[in-house]
């Protein structure tokens, strides 16, 4: 059991650090930050699946709340 649960990649060795002037960053942190930036960009540019858009009339179908507000937060005209 212990062997199954031990790490496949051992990170328990001295880290590598990159230096640019006053800036110092570990390779691990740099990877995390780069991954965040890449993920952010991908989230913005990757196409999102098309849902079936309802007409405006359908959106105002009588699933209204007691207050008259729509499910999407809009109000009745």
């Amino acid at each position: 059991m212990p062997h199954i649960l031990s790490a496949l990649v051992n990170l328990n060795h001295p880290g590598h650090y990159l230096h640019w002037g006053a800036v110092q960053i570990s390779v691990a942190n740099l990877i995390v930050i780069l991954l965040m930036l890449v993920t952010f960009v991908l989230a913005l540019v990757l196409p999102f699946p098309h849902g079936k858009a309802a007409s405006r009339r359908d959106a105002k179908a009588p699933a209204t709340t007691p207050t008259g507000e729509q499910a999407d937060g809009s109000t009745e005209p």
């Binding site: 649960l5 031990s6 207050t67 109000t75 009745e76």
Partner: protein, 285 residues
Amino acid sequence: MTVTSTEPKVAVSPNDRPTWTGRFRARAVGTFPPEKLLPDRQPTYVASWIYIFGALTLAAFGVVLLSGAVLAIEGPAWWHNSSVGLYFNSAHLWGTELFFFFMVIHLWGKFFMAAWRGRRRATWITGVLAFAISIATAFTGYLSQQNFDSEWIGTQAKDGINATGAGAFWNVLNFGQMLLWHVLLLPLIVAVVIGVHVLQVRRHGVVPPFATSRAVAAAPAIAGPAAGDTGFGEDKPAVGGDGFDLDAGVAGDTILATSDPGALGDAASNTESATTATQEGGATP
């Protein structure tokens, strides 16, 4: 367009004085009707992968809580001597890394969408609060490790915290105190702040896109909240909202450029944006 009241009629017998319970229920149901609290429709403009990062952050928070609960079952020393314990400690750590990973991307997205617009300032502020308190929660977690890392972090961080005067009351070298803050007090506060944050999103909906110039030029002045409303007040519908005809807008980013008082409907101040809209050549349906 009529201004509809958000308050349902409280069903009480004419002879009964309103109860605290009844008043709270009326207000809660009024602010969060079921279709708003648990919607199964969303505006068509919610069509980007950036929108899932709030849910991913919440999911990571859930994994952090669950893995933390497992660690709590066996106590704070377990993970040093057990490989199962070490695995759950790893889950707790990586859950935390993912929690911040997704939260910061969520923050970036919400910033560039200016998600505070339209009485959503409380949503933004509770989000920043959740971020800050999460950092404090993670910090107490690092202090609770009972290893070299926690030793170093505690003895270093004490100087910063002592400098604020808080160190006299909040002793980062006091393991028992820090563990209790980490396991109980701070997660509770984070959960409450996240809860308020999510409820605000349910209440006001996902922020609509920036409007285009042609649509805004056609809109009357927005009858917004009374002066002094900081966005924490009641959800009031905007009068004249149907004049804000997004379908008539022009694709592109020619946003109303002016924020001068009384500028709405003022052709002179909208000249530049109107001209650009014409150049873009969109047709009004």
